[in-house]
Structure formats: C-alpha cells, structure tokens
C-alpha cells in the first residue's frame, strides 16, 4: 500500500513534467516487445527505486499485490500460454512500479496546484489530484473489508481468491460510494465549487524539467527505433 505523506525528492521537478514522464514511461512498458527492451526499462526503474530510496516501499507493495499478480499470471497462462502470461505479468508489475515512482514523489495537492497554474479549472484539477490522493484510502478500504470477511471464515488466499473474490465487490463498492459521498460533502462544505483556487506555490517549468522530458523522449524514441 502506498504510504501517504512521505514524498521523496518532491521538490526536484515540476509535478507536470513528472506526470508526462510517468505517462511516457508507462506507454513504453506497454508497447515493449523485446526482452532487451524490458531489461533496459527494468534497469532504469530499479535505479530510480534505489536513488529515491523507495526499495522498501516497492517490496511492501509487491508483497501486497503478489496474490493478485499470481492470479493474473495463472489466468493469462490458461488463456494465452506461458510466454504471454509472463510478459503480461511483468508488464503489469512495471506499470505499477512506474506508478509508485510517480505517486511517491508527487504530493497530490502539488499536482492539483500545478494543473490549476496551467489553466485547468479547480474542479478538473481535483479529478487528477483526488485520484492520486485517494488511491491509498481505497486500498485501506479493500484491506478492511477483506479482514472483515476473513474474520467470518471466508478465505481469499491462493485459489480461494477465485471462488470468494467476487464477495469482496459489494462491500468494497458500497463503502467506496459512501466514502465518495462523505468526501463530496466535505469538499462542498469547504468551498470546492468556487471558480478560483490559489496555488500555494509558483509552478514554472525550469531547465531541469525540460531536460527530464527531453531525455525520456530521446530514450523512448531510441527504444522504438532499435526494437521495432
């Protein structure tokens, strides 16, 4: 589960440049076809995890999602064969890792402020901000529901997840809807509908942001030309 409130190196780059790099990186993972391409991307991701000291959080995240990854792998294996299953599972893990690298270095409200500074309306900016902010909250919700059902004798480990997994859906969805209702009330009660929002910082693209985007774009193009 992501650890909200701890952001490594959040001041180094503008949230918008990081968001663009995140989108580009995830696209590269999804379009990758060659083993070397995967390897190159994995090396980049592991280095970033090391530099940003996010190894521990990555391991904790992988531990949490391991049953889901395994289930995904088994289902894909059964339907499309072993090679496709391994490739798809690796792809999924790398997209999740890219998400961790982005979310763990970007406070959601900074992303929202930066988008407002770019001219988006506060309401649209909050769509992005809220998505980032409340992913961990929803993760906690799923965890609580799972614990509640396990306490009643239901099992979700291993293949039990296939049989009992759907039982999680109703309480999770309803709890999520209640949470969304409560949140909507709280936001409105604090002035959410107002047309103006003051960013708490100045956001301007700096040389390092342009360099970050340029480097990522060049790497993406190189991968494309070499491996396609």
């Amino acid at each position: 589960m992501l650890d909200v409130g701890v952001y490594k190196g959040s001041d180094a780059f503008d949230p918008r440049s990081k968001a663009l790099v995140y989108v580009l990186g995830s696209t590269m993972v999804l379009l990758a076809t060659h083993r070397l391409e995967f390897l190159a991307l994995a090396v980049v991701q592991s280095n970033l995890l090391l530099v940003l000291q996010l190894g521990g959080r990555w391991l904790a995240l992988v531990r949490t999602i391991l049953p889901t990854l395994a289930l995904f792998c088994v289902v894909t294996w059964l339907s499309a064969g072993g090679g496709a299953a391994l490739s798809a599972t690796l792809r999924l893990l790398m997209v999740i890792t890219a998400g961790l690298l982005f979310f763990a270095t970007t406070p959601p409200e900074e992303l929202g402020d930066a988008l407002v500074a770019s001219g988006l309306s506060p309401q649209v900016a909050f769509l992005f901000e809220g998505t980032v902010r409340f992913v961990p909250t929803l993760g906690r919700l799923v965890h609580e529901v799972r614990e509640a059902l396990v306490s009643r004798g239901l099992r979700f480990d291993g293949l039990y997840l296939l049989r009992n997994g759907p039982l999680l859906l109703a309480p999770v969805l309803i709890s999520a809807l209640h949470f969304a209702d409560d949140l909507a009330e709280a936001l409105e009660a604090r002035g959410f509908g107002s047309p103006h929002r003051t960013p708490l910082r100045d956001y301007r693209f700096q040389l390092r942001d342009w360099l970050l985007m340029a480097t990522t774009s060049v790497l993406a193009l190189m991968c494309w030309f070499i491996f396609q």
């Binding site: 909200v4 099992r155 409105e188 103006h196």
Partner: protein, 536 residues
C-alpha cells in the same frame, strides 16, 4: 436589533424518493447562541445540519419547501461553496474532511479553494493553528494523528474560513475523554468570542452544560425548544433519548433539581445508589488468553507484554484511549494479527499459524463498521454465509438468533440498504449464528443512540447467558459502567488494571493514563467522598 442568523419558517424536506426527513421546522437562532440540537438516530439532526450550509438541497437534491435564511442567504438559491464562508460544517467522520497530505496544507485547502491570497492563507493558517494548538503538527501527515488531533485539524480547516455560524454533527462520537474535554473547551472559547454554535448530538451530557439553548428533534419535527434545564424536565425517553447521567441520578433520588455539572449535583444533595454490585466470577474456563503478547507496527510498539484472559460466560470491557491498541488486541484473538512475541491461546490451544478461517469457528469479531462485513444480497443469505463457510450449520440455532435479534421482518431485505442500527444487529447476528465461543466487539457503541445502546446491553447479556466469552473494546466508560463486566485498562501496550469497575474507578492515575473519563455516578461519589473527608 440584529436579525437572527438562522431563520427557518415552515421548512420541510424529503430526500429524493423517500419520506419526509424534516417537517414544518420553525426556528430562529440568534447570533451568539450555543444550541444543542438533540435527537435519536433518524430524527433529522444531520439533515438539518446539512440544510444550514446548503449541502441540502444543492448536493443531495430532494424537495425543500418553506423559507430558510442563514447568515442573510436564502439557502434554496445559495450554493454550498458560497455558504461555506459564513457557515462552517464539521461532519461526524473527521477523516472524510481530510483532503491534503499534511496538516498545514489541509487547513489551507478551504482558503485556497476560496481564492484568497497566499499571504492571507498563511496568516490564517498560522492563527488558527495557534488557537487550536496545532502549530507543532503542521508538517505531519493527517493519517498519523490521533482521533482528537484529527478532529482539531478538521475544525481548524473550517474555522480558518472565519464562519459566523459553526455547525458540528456528532463531533464527540469518536473522541476519548480528554479529546472530548478539549473540544468542549474550544467550543466554549469560540462561543465566548461571539460565535454562534450548533452541536447536533444524541448524547446530551457531552455539551448540555455549555449550551444556552436546547432544540430537540423527533421524527423530523421540533418537539422541544428552550433552555437546557427546562427541556430536561420533560421525559426524554419518549423521543428516544437518554437523560444526562447526572440528571438521571437526581431523578432516581426523586429530586426536582436538574444538575448539569458535578458541582450542581453535589449542591443538590443527590443520594447515590449503592456501589455497583461485584460481578461474581466463577471458575469458568478461559476461551481466549493473551500471554505476554508483544506486537509492533513499523517499529512503533503497540502491545508490550500484554496479559489478559476472556473466560466463558463473562464480559470484559477492554478500555483505553483512541489508538491505545484495543483493536490490535482483538485482532490477535482471531488471528488477523499474530504476536511477534508471546502466545495467544484459543480454547487452550496456541493460535500459532492456524488460519483465521479456522479460528473464526471459535472466535467471532464484530468490527467497528459492520457494513464492511455484510456481503450477501439478503439478510437471510447473510445469516447463512458464516455457517456455510465454517461448516457449522444449525437451523434451530439460526431460528433462535433470528428471533433474538428480531430479524424475521428483515430477512428478505438487502443488508447494505438497512439503517446503521439494523446493520449492526445483522452483523452481530451473522457472527453469533456460527455459535462462536468468544465474541469480540470493537467500539460497539460508536454512533449508537439510546435505543441502540440498550439493545446492545440485552444482546450481550444473552450471549453471556449462553456461556459465550464477551470481550468488547470501548472508550465509552459511561456505557461500560452499566454492564456487569470486568474492566481491563490498556495503557502503553499493557493491561494496567483488571478488576471490577468500581475498583478501577478509584485508580485516578490509571484512568488519567488511559485517557478515560469517570462515569458520572462515580465522579459524583468521589467528589462527595472528598468533601466529606474535608469536613471530617
């Protein structure tokens, strides 16, 4: 003369597709009033709170009739974001308010949303943080705070907008005694500075001594509106409310006085009933035992050599502050958590690595939010689910449970669509239908009105009569004092007192360390004993 801050004339409201939630509400609230808005669950308190800042009808829709003006704005034509600078609303669940990842940013959120300048935002955040003693927490992540701290953060976010009217919907529901006392002090101070305050609450004792006026709602209508003392001369049970304990003590003693504070109760000369009878504990077998249990989360110690036993046919109230680790203790009993050191035994067998699903046959846990436990499309199927998975089907026992919890008429209803009180009933029944030997209840009284709390009392008594070991975690000493239960007090990861309530209540240092309030009767008894001691 200044016009009332709230002018409500013949206001009625119904949620979309539902019966009327409020009917013919006529009330005027003057600037500077401190109103206690009382009422049982479903009486319309929360609806009225949401009406005052425009969440109703602008967010919820529905049909609003009558004339409602708040702080000079007509509610029907003023959206909530405009109202939010005049009316601050604090909802029951503080965590729902938190939208930012640090306390400072969260307090600033509303100010930024209103488009104020950064200088103003910074100044107001600093001022309100100072007022509510939050300056040292400004860089902290809200999810790392205690319940009381989080409540103050949310209040700070609301107060930063400098509203004229502050509305709080059951703000004490999740707070332990010191946090509740701190919130009361803050509200008194805000009232002293001229702010108009409305507190919706069904546990009247929380603010009755501070309020200048009391408005009671029942079935969506105002049934009483006067000074608190005058309202408390009525029989409140007809409206599903409990008298504040001190007033109840005065009534039991057949006095006309309406004491709102311990001092007034002493002055009224209340003759106290004898000390609560000692609960006879026979040599009943232990069902769950915690033996020198240690547990830490992210290196922060939570349990540090905890020893406790829950025996058949007895009730233990596990008391402690918010965040003391009560839930952690319960989760060790059914295997959701495993001790890092020490042993937990269920039916004299070490839990070890036994799966939770196996332990669930002997240990049933009802969580703080029962809705999270309900998965089936009907109550009937919900009650069948546990026995099916635990392979413990007993139709005769299921029938007994259905009768005991009066669920016959709910059997074909969708559990997730029931009221909160009904959901709690179904969740408890869904656990008991598998006939566990131990029943664990996590904060069972949170959000429960008088009827819910009374029903819980009866359900626990029935479990004990069935020889079930009951362990309930709570910070509600007033309610726990009414149970024939042993008290185990959790402080710093250890049980520091494990005895009859009357004995624990005499250990002032233990109660203070556990952030527990004294039940009114015991507080009064001790106050009178102190005075007698002085006279002697």
């Amino acid at each position: 003369m200044t016009p009332p801050i709230v002018q409500c004339r013949a206001v009625s409201y119904r949620y979309p597709g539902q019966l009327a939630a409020l009917a013919d509400i006529d009330v005027e609230i003057q600037e500077g009033d401190f109103v206690l808005l009382g009422g049982a669950s479903g009486s319309g308190k929360s609806t009225l709170c949401r009406l005052l800042n425009g969440l109703i009808p602008h967010l919820h829709g529905g049909e609003l009739t009558g004339d409602l003006r708040v702080a000079g704005h007509a509610i029907s034509s003023t959206p909530p974001h405009v109202m939010s600078s005049s009316v601050g609303l604090l909802l029951q669940r503080a965590e729902a308010h938190v939208v930012a990842t640090t306390v400072g940013r969260d307090i600033a959120w509303g100010l930024a949303a209103h488009g104020l300048t950064r200088i103003t935002i910074e100044q107001r955040v600093r001022d309100v943080a100072h007022l509510l003693d939050l300056t040292h927490l400004l860089q902290r992540a809200p999810h790392t705070l205690s319940g009381g701290e989080l409540q103050r953060v949310v209040l700070a976010g609301v107060l930063a907008l400098q509203p004229r009217l502050l509305v709080l919907d059951e703000p004490f529901a999740f707070l332990d005694a010191p946090a509740a006392a701190q919130l009361r002090a803050i509200l008194s101070e805000l009232h002293r500075t001229g702010m108009t305050i409305i507190v919706a609450e069904h546990r009247l004792e929380q603010v009755v001594a501070t309020a200048t006026r009391m408005v009671l709602l029942h079935a969506g209508r105002i049934v009483a509106d006067a000074a608190p003392r005058a309202v408390l001369t009525h029989e409140l049970s007809q409206w599903g409310l409990e008298m504040p304990p001190l007033v109840q003590l005065a009534r039991t003693a057949r006095l006309d006085a309406v004491p709102l504070t311990i001092e007034e109760a002493v002055a009224a000369g209340i003759e106290l009933p004898p000390t609560q009878a000692t609960v006879a504990v026979g040599p009943t077998p232990p069902i769950v035992e915690w033996d020198d249990v240690w547990f830490a989360r992210d290196t922060a110690p939570i349990l540090r050599g905890l020893n406790l036993a829950s025996t058949a046919g007895t009730t233990v109230a596990l008391l402690g502050a918010n965040g003391a680790g009560k839930t952690t203790v319960l989760q060790h009993a059914n295997g959701l958590l495993r001790p890092q050191r020490g042993t937990v035994r269920v039916m004299r067998r070490a839990v070890g690595r036994r799966p939770v699903a196996e332990l669930a046959r002997d240990v049933g846990l009802v969580m703080q939010q029962p809705a999270r436990m309900l998965v089936a499309p009907t109550v009937r199927e919900e009650l069948a689910l546990g026995p099916r998975f635990l392979r413990h089907n007993d139709p005769a026992w299921s029938d007994t449970i259905i009768e005991r919890f009066q669920l016959r008429e709910l059997l074909d209803r969708v559990p997730q669509r029931l009221s909160a009180g009904e959901q709690r009933r179904v969740a408890l029944a869904a656990i008991l239908v598998s006939r566990p030997r131990a029943l664990l209840l996590d904060e069972p009284t949170v959000g429960q009105d008088a009827a819910g709390r009374r029903a819980l009392h009866e359900q626990i008594a029935a479990c004990v009569a069935d020889d079930t070991a009951v362990l309930l975690a709570t910070h509600d000493t007033e309610w726990a004092f009414t149970l024939p239960a042993r008290w185990a007090v959790l402080v710093d990861g250890q049980i520091v007192a494990d005895a009859q309530p009357s004995i624990v209540c005499r250990q002032a240092d233990v109660l203070a360390r556990a952030h527990l309030g004294l039940p009114a009767a015991e507080a009064l008894r001790q106050c009178m004993a102190t005075m007698e001691g002085r006279h002697a």
